[in-house]
Symmetry: C2
Subunit: 336 residues, 2 copies
């Protein structure tokens, strides 16, 4: 419930960790909210999960980065939340005709333009940070005062060890998520390459020097949870002077979208706003939960919690949620 709105800070610098669809929709709402405030421009730095990146047909696909680009850039497929509006699938149909697998990951012709450009620039020696910045320019993010950073420039990939009987096998996260619809229990998540990863340039600084850090309602295990595993990120969140405000991705006992319940089950964490808050308890200052969960919410202790409507059904509702997160953060800053 939004109450008396706190004053802004001049030129706020907000840093957000984000996965794909939920994160992107929330951040589009945040951008829109900040544009209405005085004392701008206010800047957003997004640290994007790249743990679910995948190489398909020899092309490097970065699903969360792309969803953020297309959503903030204004050409997302609104219905599905990922991919491009008015998309065609001609090229992938050709690959199918050549007998090329897999076909369970839908890559449209427009979307493939991004992957071809990314793969070419990476092959030419650019880092993922540089590639992301170049892609973001086309989508007008710098003009919106949005800086999009991959969590790391290292090659990392989340794989899922399946719990399907005697035989253990691991599949890429995307195969588990899309082809198997997370219906086969995951015994654990293994992020290949993360042990050798360093945070991408600017990531730790953006967390440490922000005025406010926000965790959008992204998947707490395979999106934000992976970013938290990048060496230095969790320490930066613990050490930052900025309030850290999170938005629960669990509403009414289940995920608003996606398979966060299956992911939480793998960690043995309760599928509830308190369960998720527990994952962030060492650095979380403020926590937004859904109005409907206010009565049942049970902790953790010492966390400033506020209940607001958490269903992003359109831009205005996303904007209201973002406004609540910013206001909570500003109140936490002003707390004696």
């Amino acid at each position: 419930m939004l109450r008396n709105r706190t004053d802004t800070l001049p030129g706020m610098r907000i840093t957000a960790l984000a996965g794909g669809v939920g994160g992107a929709r929330f951040l589009r709402g945040l951008r829109s909210h900040l544009d209405r405030l005085d004392d701008g421009p206010h800047e957003i730095t997004i640290v994007a999960n790249t743990g679910d990146d995948i190489t398909l047909f020899g092309l490097r696909v970065s699903p969360d980065v792309d969803t953020l680009l297309y959503t903030l850039g204004g050409d997302i497929h609104e219905g599905q939340g990922w991919g491009r509006a008015n998309e065609s699938f001609t090229l992938q149909g050709e690959l199918a005709a050549y007998g090329v697998e897999p076909q369970w990951f839908g890559l449209g012709d427009k979307d493939l333009g991004t992957h071809v450009a990314r793969s070419m620039w990476l092959a030419q020696g650019s880092t993922p940070s540089e590639v992301t910045a170049r892609l973001a320019t086309r989508w007008g993010l710098p003009d919106q005062h949005v800086r999009l950073l991959p969590m790391t420039d290292a090659f990392v990939e989340t794989h899922v060890v399946l719990d399907d009987g005697d035989e253990q096998r691991a599949v890429h996260f995307q195969e588990w998520w899309i082809r198997l619809r997370a219906a086969v229990p995951a015994q654990r998540f293994v992020v290949a390459g993360l042990d050798r990863a360093a945070a991408a340039p600017g990531v730790l600084e953006a967390i440490r020097t922000a005025d406010l850090v926000i965790l959008p309602p992204s998947n707490p295990v395979v999106s934000i949870g992976i970013i938290l595993l990048v060496p230095g990120v969790r320490d930066a969140l613990r050490g930052t002077a900025a309030p850290v405000v999170g938005v629960s991705p669990i509403v009414g006992g289940g995920p608003v979208r996606g398979h966060a319940d299956a992911c939480l089950a793998t960690l043995g964490v309760e599928v509830s706003p308190s369960g998720v808050a527990g994952l962030y308890r060492d650095f979380l200052d403020g926590w937004l939960i859904d109005s409907g969960d206010a009565e049942s919410f049970g902790g953790p202790a010492g966390l400033t919690t506020e209940a607001v409507p958490l269903l992003m059904k359109d831009l205005p509702t996303a904007e209201a949620m973002a406004a609540a997160a910013v206001d909570l953060g500003l109140r936490l800053r002003n707390r004696p």
Copy 2:
């Protein structure tokens, strides 16, 4: 002029060296002609020029191989002679939006499916021969008794040293051919990598053991001329017991299509059926020229020449040309 048709051989094995559009149209006519003959199936082995291959957007494009695949596979853009029928250019439009150059080479979404598959398979360790065979399967070439071989598995690329004043510069053949429309004089052609190239598996054997070798009306300098530079190919043509029959790409003092005149000028060769025959004189047995060139044709001496209509305006005219080439070859075989 077709005269009394010679009998066929049972199960003829015909080997052809070919470039793109002209070669592909002729070979489609040849395939159609052979299907009408008795004593089949008659087999065609095509040795395709890969000298004008190019890497665009990180993808390996093999224009002559692709034109042969699409033409024989029945999905060529008939009007332009290259590329796919009913093509869209969505992906390349995205690359343009990202500021990616070059844009002078048109790559459609269907066509890009071939390049993505090829590039992926090459990156996985397949040879160009293996990749070509895999692509050809989808287009039904094995079922048509057509075997398509790249001239070499080595990475070769034709570059053009431009003759444009004081400063010498070299551009990729495709840039000279497409962007510059061969309007800037070429001082010379340099085929990078050809010195280290070997003929692809099966190429030399197909020339040596054929019943008949045909040179379709492909560009004698930058298509067939490049294949002839692959070590061993020219010797195989000189040594084969099969008659070698060529079809003039020059009709009425100019190329039927493309910029063969500019290419011949670079070599200092006359733009005429005799000029081209001179390039092949050490191995050519039979030569088809256009009816209109019969009077002016001047040699080389000792070459069996026949004048027939050489304009391939549709499948029947291509078929008639192919029939003339086969008949001439068979008569040369039966010559005492």
